[in-house]
Every structure is written in structure tokens, then in C-alpha cells.
Amino acid sequence: MEYTQQLLEETGLGRGRLEMFEIAASDAPKWVAAVQEMTRRVEELGPNPLGRGRRLQGAAVEQLEDMVAQ
């Protein structure tokens, strides 16, 4: 994990975008805390610099909406 973070750091993407959490299936509060932590980090780091304004289009958007609806 640390090695992969180091590889990301070297490439210039930063190590903060990747993290591993150990959470038991029954430990909902820990899951929520982990999601909040990653959300906070991503907001701080900003959008993926490799994405550069790429947006989901056409079928991909519909597919995503279907998945959310389910």
C-alpha cells in the first residue's frame, strides 16, 4: 500500500488519493468515517488532474443513472 502511494507520489498524482481502510462488515460508523475522510481529501486535492474536464457522456450517463436508481 505504502509502495503504491509512493509510486503515485513519484508520478505527480500525490499519495493522498489512495488509502486502504480495514473495516468489519458490521462496523458502519467506521465506514462512514472512512468515506468522509476520503471525501474531505478529494475535495482538498481537487479533480483528477488527468481527467481535465472530461465528463461522462451519452450512454455512460444513462448507465450511471440506472445504477443509482437501482
Binding site: L7, E10, G12
Partner: protein
């Protein structure tokens, strides 16, 4: 086996910077075992380069291939035609593999992707230690299977020296004295008298570089039959 470490990413990135299409060639033997230059590491390096250059709005076409051994003509010969399409090659093999591959693919520049460290062993996952200096004159039979040339920082053939402190070395007090270990090993084997044997000066002419070894069965083929 040969132990190597991958070169720092920034160094590799700088080496391939002038090119638009490169080939990364992995080696599936020693450097694959020490997680420095095998198929997986080739993939990692290619992904890292693509990501890093993507961040700079640059484009680099990368080919990936891993052969069984880059130090063996049989395995690298088929690469000759394959490499013709590329502007440069990054070889993830040890120094021997890089040079051998370049001998064949002499048109393109070749860059090493790893730093070759030593001949060593895999003590535990990801933990490698040196054991042999390839001195071409093995003493292990009389030193209880511990190499004084490699394990003693002074490379003493007759020891221990006066710098042994409670079984540890004066050069690095955290390291056990090789000759102290040899003594205890020989004692355990019941051949402590071996330590009294004075070994002659090391025949340095036998480690003259570059070394050549011709198997006795092939002497006539290579014109060295006496």
C-alpha cells in the same frame, strides 16, 4: 541470484524524455524475483510514465515485453525485429542483460531501468543480502560455508583480525564479525583445525575483468583446446 533495485522514477523519466515511442523490456529471472525488473515492474513503470507525462500534456507510446532472460542470446534474439519500431529501449535487466540486449539492438539508444546491486539471496519477502563477490576462487569449503571475501568488510582470508569486539566488527559494530562466525561454524562442524590453515594471497589475476569462462566440453569449438 543477481539483486537489483529499480532506478528512481525521475531518472528514468529524464532518460526517455526526448523520445515519443519506447519499449520497456523486462527480464523474467533474477530481477523478477527481487521485484525490480520483471513483467509486473515493467507494467508499473509503463503506467507511471504514462500518468506522469499525461499530467504534463505529453504523449509517450510505450511497448512492454518481458523475456525469460536477457543474458541469454536464445531469448533475446527474437526481440531484434520487434524493437525496430521503437525509438529507444529501457531494459529492466541487470547490467549484463542491458549490455547484451544493446549488442543486438545496436540502432536504438538503450537505458537501464535498474541499478544492479550484487549477487545475493532472498532472506525474506523483499529482504535481500549479499553473499558472493564472484571472485572466481571459492574458499567456502575451508571457511565453513561463510565467504570471508564478501562477509568480512576487509575481505580478509585469514582472520579474525584485531578489530573483533565480542563477535562484532569494528568497521560496523552492528554487524557480526565474519571470522568469528566462521570460527563458531567450524567448531560446530568439528573441524576447527581448518582455521589454522593459512590461506595464500588471493589470486587477483583470476578476477581480471572482463572474465571469460569456457566450459571444458566446448573448448575445441572456441579454439582454446590445449
Amino acid at each position: 541470484m543477481i539483486i537489483a533495485e529499480r532506478k528512481p522514477f525521475a531518472e528514468i523519466k529524464a532518460m526517455v524524455a526526448p523520445y515519443k515511442k519506447i519499449l520497456i523490456v523486462g527480464c523474467g529471472t533474477c530481477v523478477a524475483v527481487c521485484l525490480a525488473g520483471g513483467e509486473k515492474e515493467v507494467g508499473l513503470l509503463a503506467s507511471q510514465l504514462k500518468l506522469a507525462l499525461g499530467l504534463e500534456d505529453k504523449r509517450l507510446e510505450i511497448g512492454e515485453i518481458t523475456v525469460e532472460r536477457q543474458c541469454d542470446l536464445e531469448f533475446i534474439k527474437p526481440l531484434c525485429d520487434f524493437t525496430a519500431d521503437y525509438e529507444a529501449i529501457v531494459s529492466m535487466a541487470c547490467g549484463a542483460g542491458v549490455q547484451f540486449l544493446k549488442q543486438l539492438c545496436y540502432l536504438q539508444p538503450i537505458f537501464p531501468g535498474v541499478n544492479t546491486s550484487f549477487i545475493g539471496v532472498n532472506e525474506a519477502a523483499g529482504y535481500y543480502t549479499e553473499r558472493c563477490r564472484a571472485c572466481n576462487n571459492c574458499y567456502l569449503g575451508v571457511t565453513g560455508g561463510i565467504c570471508p571475501v564478501t562477509m568480512c568488510p576487509k575481505g580478509l582470508l585469514n582472520g579474525p583480525c584485531g578489530g573483533t569486539v565480542n563477535g562484532y566488527c569494528e568497521v560496523n559494530p552492528e554487524k557480526e564479525c565474519a571470522w568469528s562466525k566462521i570460527y563458531h561454524r567450524l567448531e560446530l562442524e568439528g573441524r576447527l583445525e581448518n582455521i589454522k590453515e593459512i590461506l595464500p594471497l588471493r589470486p587477483h589475476q583470476r578476477c581480471a575483468t572482463p572474465g571469460v569462462v569456457i566450459h571444458p566440453a566446448y573448448k575445441r569449438r572456441y579454439g582454446t583446446d590445449e
